[in-house]
């Protein structure tokens, strides 16, 4: 080591490459009029069951597609194929999260202009996905009633980086002695003002609210995009 080291200022975001790609994906999604929603949660919280229901509900009168990330197996894609025509599995191998490059690569052969909604199911993990922007318009974080109410406190950054929370498996809340008020308070603590839904994918309760919310969010995003175009013209 030298006696008088020299400092070189850099000030660069470590994930700037990912952020740059995510921005270009977002521009591409906007230009093609596709609204993109990502789902994050721990493994086994019911992401795929929830997504299956969403795809068939929204898919009834919109063009929907899904990308699903997993470390291994194509089981989730096979399940979702029943509910949407375009489904692709991204197997990440040992990588615990999706990044913008994986999304870009997976979408290479897709016609985005033929879609209204694209859902991206991240790898089941409440830590790593929080740092990676995928170019999505909206990030949903899922928490199942069987996991316990303190998950938001254990993983504050993923809850904070999400736009809305969905509490799943509400049909099992009573059996699991799930304390809903505490769960809601914990979510509010780490992400003030967050919209929270309570659903049972199995029975179907609460799904109407989620679907209405997502449709309204897409409408709002389209309106603001059109206004921006009008201003530019």
């Amino acid at each position: 080591m030298s006696a008088n080291p020299r400092m070189v200022e850099v000030r660069a975001k470590v994930l700037k490459q990912n952020d740059f790609l995510a921005h270009s994906l977002r521009d591409q999604f906007r230009a093609n009029g596709v609204y993109v929603i990502s789902l994050v949660s721990s493994p086994g919280s019911g992401k795929t069951a929830f997504l299956e229901k969403l795809l068939s509900r929204i898919g009834a009168d919109h063009r929907v597609a899904a990308l699903v990330g997993d470390l291994a197996t194509e089981n989730d894609a096979a399940r979702l194929q029943r509910a949407a025509s375009q489904v692709k599995q991204i197997t990440t191998g040992t990588i615990c999260h999706l990044d913008a490059q994986m999304v870009q690569k997976a979408l290479e052969s897709w016609r985005l202009d033929e879609l209204d909604f694209l859902f991206i199911e991240n790898v089941g993990n409440l830590v790593c996905p929080s740092s990676y922007d995928l170019g999505e318009d909206l990030r949903l974080v899922l928490l199942s009633a069987t996991e316990g109410e303190d998950k938001p406190l254990k993983y504050p950054t993923i809850f904070n980086s999400s736009d809305a929370a969905v509490i799943t498996k509400m049909d099992m809340a009573h059996a699991a002695e799930f304390d809903l008020a505490t769960a809601r308070r914990n979510i509010e603590g780490v992400r003030p003002g967050m919209k929270i839904f309570e659903v049972s994918s199995k029975i179907g309760t609460g799904m109407d609210d989620v679907v209405a919310y997502l449709l309204a969010q897409r409408e709002a995003s389209r309106t603001s995009a059109l206004q921006q175009v009008a201003v530019q013209e």
Binding site: M1, S2, A3, N4, P5, R6, M7, V8, E9, V10, R11, A12, K13, V14, L15, K16, Q17, N18, I95, C96, H97, D99, V127, C128, S130, S131, P152, L153, P156, T157, I158, N160, S161, N186, E188, G189, V190, R191, P192, G193
Partner: protein, 115 residues
């Protein structure tokens, strides 16, 4: 554990920066890491030293500056650090705030090279 991916991104970035300046011998890297970045400091240090092996950064030190969480309180109209990262609210007036000013950084601030 995405700290290894983060470490590899860092090494690529610093190698590129030092190459651009004519291939400098980097002795230490200074990183700003927010408490709300989702990256664990110890895991990142561990991953960094592993990932440096066989690269021009082998043997370099990683100096991590922890950046506290700072939110903007809409009631007091000032920036404040919450008492806990589990309650994003003003420590004075308890108003919740999602307006995060600092605490999410994963940023290479500088590196040290042999003079």
């Amino acid at each position: 554990m995405h700290e290894l991916s983060i470490a590899i991104s860092m090494i690529d970035q610093i190698t590129e920066e030092s190459d651009r300046r004519g291939g400098l011998q980097v002795e230490a890297v200074h990183l700003k890491l927010g408490v709300f970045s989702g990256v664990d400091k110890d895991a990142l240090s561990f991953a960094y030293h592993l990932a440096c092996e066989g690269t021009p950064l082998q043997g370099s030190r990683l100096v991590i500056e922890t950046i506290p969480l700072v939110i903007y309180c809409p009631s007091c109209k000032v920036e404040r650090t919450p008492d806990s990262i589990y309650q994003l609210c003003c420590p004075q007036c308890q108003t919740p705030s999602q307006d995060i000013i600092r605490g999410r950084e994963i940023e290479v601030a500088a590196f040290e090279v042999a003079a």
